[in-house]
Amino acid sequence: MSSRDKILSAVKSNQPSRVPIAEINITVADDEDLKSKYLRILESIGGKGQIVDSCDEIQKILSADFDPSSRKIAVGRSWPGFAESFSAAIDPHQLENVEVAIIEAHFAVAENAAVWVTEDRMGFRALPFICQHLVVIIPEQHIVATMHDAYQFIGHREYNFATFIAGPSKTADIEQSLVLGAHGPISMRAFLLRQE
Amino acid sequence: MIAGLFVPCYIDQFYPEVAINTLQLLEKLGCQVKFPMNQTCCGQPMANSGFAHLAKKCDDLFIENFAGLDYIVCPSGSCTLHIKEHLHSKTDEATATNLRKVVYELTEFLTDVLKIGHLPAEFNHKVSLHQSCHGLRGLMLSQMSELMASPFSKPTQLLKMVKGIELVDLDRPDECCGFGGTFCVTEEAVSVKMGKDRVMDHLHHHTEVITGVDMSCLMHMEGILKRMKSPVKVKHIAEILNHQY
């Protein structure tokens, strides 16, 4: 018998009799405006966020923050003269010198400030992790309250790879001192974009 | 109503005043108390060491002593919990089941059965409460700090009825003192360190008397206090609730 069959038969003979699956009926008090909650939690986990009216406004803010000569790469809408557009021809290993990556998330979660990004919004899977600074744009009305709502939003949608990103990469492995920027981005900036 | 007084073995032998105060307190509050003379030990030392099968004779003896009483009251959360969780009988499981239901730790008996609203007690000292784990997490005498739920505390509720008492809060309100039954010798180093840390929390808050519902935890902390030559005393909660000048 293969290990597979041995394991499955051992599990089958040892598993208890069938217990029905619990319904997830958790009521959540929504006492705070989702946008302000999202921004408050994001700040608490080391990110920065604000509401903006346009991409021009985003570009202005980023121009002030980052050296014009630094490499910026964007997935989704194009940023002529400001950031190069993602191209499938690049080898992900050549993303090492990307200073800023600009990506667009499907939605954000207020309770933990995570944003949901699927592979098609990343260009390469490695991009949101290998860049030094991550910028994420979220349509302002696309904020859900909790992770329960988040998975309702995701539903049965197809993706090959997707991730929740909550703030910059971080570690507290050295004496519980929080350090932003472990192996992934050192900073994460979110823009809640008002719909034109 | 007749309440059987269940006196843990180490209280019987080393802290008789705790049982005396418990008895007097119950009588003062109008209970008719019976002390079954042939009781020994609930069997917990064996059971917690993995030898539950050696505690069966203790179970039988317990049933023999306490069968037929309306309530069983014990000045120890730990021994009460042991009976509540583990008392069984090969020959008379119905009686065992009933005894598991009617056994009460002293403070819960006062708040839940007698439902007392005031006490004729006075104790003019700074007092801090050690929450013994089995009373706390097993009998739920107080709300546990790990749970996200409204706070309450049966022992505190009673201590607040005592005239002149000043209750002192701790940094870690319900951390274990490290007594743990045979743990106190089989894991001597950690047990003592836990005890020292617990005692220091009380001392930092300038307490004069450490109280609690379990004399075993207090005995362990007393041993440490005395070795430190600290003037701080330990007193079982019955000694305070029954105290009058």
Binding site: S3, I7, L8, A10, V11, K12, S13, Q15, V19, I26, I41, P92, R125, A126, M147, H148, Y151, Q152, N160, F161, F164, A166, S169, K170, T171, D173, I174, Q176, S177, G181, A182, H183, G184 | C9, Q13, F14, Y15, P16, M37, G43, M46, S49, F51, L54, K57, C58, C133, L147, C176, G178, G181, T186, E187, E188, A189, V190, V192, M194, E222, G223
Partner: protein, 456 residues
Amino acid sequence: MVNHADLSEKFNVDEPRVNWHDETLWWVRQKRDRAAKQIPEWEELRSVASSIKDNVLSNLSEYLAEFEKNAKQNGVHVHWAADADEHNQIVLEIIQSHGIKSIVKSKSMLTEECHLNPFLIKNNIEVVDTDLGERIVQLAEEPPSHIVLPCIHWKKEEIGDLFHKHLGTPAGNADPIFLTRAARAHLRKYFLSAKLAMTGVNFAIASTGEFVVCTNEGNADMGAHLADVHIACMGLEKIIPERKHLGVFLRLLARSATGQPITSYSSHFRKPAEGQEMHIVIVDNGRSRQLGRLDFRNSLKCIRCAACFNTCPVYRRSGGHSYHTAIAGPIGSILAPNLDMRNYADLPFASTLCGSCSNVCPVKIDIHQQLYKWRQVLVEEGYVTKEKSVAMKTMSSVLSNPSKYRLAGRLGRWILRNAPFLAKNRWNLWFKHREMPEAPKNSFREWYLENKVNKK
């Protein structure tokens, strides 16, 4: 044979260090409390999580088969390992079939449990652990002491010295930001050159065949997305039925572990990237046996948050290595005896049964009750010393017999009053650091006879 009591006695030789270790972990417990307090429905979430896991355990073989089918459809290679050796062999074969000599690995307690690193090194494969804490203990040639905070027992000055020796950082620099940046630069080289990356698995979804890996550092993603081959190893209990159940577990996991609302990254791997190869190794290693133990099967609900470590008053004062097993702490003490009763017979006794572990557990495992039950099993199976058995039998014969009990009590009190040296000596472990209680002349029973019975 090593045991918890001896190892923790050694740990306690340096008392200020024990204080530091205790306070550091208590701080994590407090962060967990604060995070949980933000969620009014916290206790309800724990109940739901626990009951989802009840369903999982009762339906595990079906969910595993469903997961396998879906993962294969997604183009993922699925392997099954009955034990640690088979797991290690499968991993080695994948590595060797690609002619690879060096790999990166993000945190996986399963690979620690299987002792994968020493096995690969013996087979001339270089393994670089990429979680900062794991890299630190790896450089120090030690196992992790905590499943979430692997080097929580290390002081920053010691890490500074370690990095000076291995990474060439300036001597004496112990600044956490500086040291983290140094590790970032050091590990980037490996991320960019590794052809194969290993990760653990936090959750595997039966209905979609995808798996979720949670990290704060981004190291699992850096490794997996830049390598040609990704191997993810999972214990077979990691299955959950559907995506929506992640909503429950991801709300609980990081809050319980570190007090964060969620980890920085919760990555959902469903299909390999174009040109990439993805493997999943599903490991039993005693889990199916534990599933058959009625009293202990709930231990398989564990999501490895380590909240029980941080709250455990014993763990905080004995350190992770005192448990001499890959998964330390209260949960480790109920998992380890299933793997090897003889070696781990000490662990269920390394607890006061205070019950704090069960209260913080996000999936409501009755940890302290299982510790009690393991004690009974270990005694029954003969894994306690003869001395202890004899002592317990004697104790039981005295405590269950009223006249013997009274006699022993009188004798004991007489000794303490009249010949205290018989009790207050170096053979008495109680007396080593604690005074004996004052022995009264009369027991309560004697008082009762005199004052209540005879007076009537």
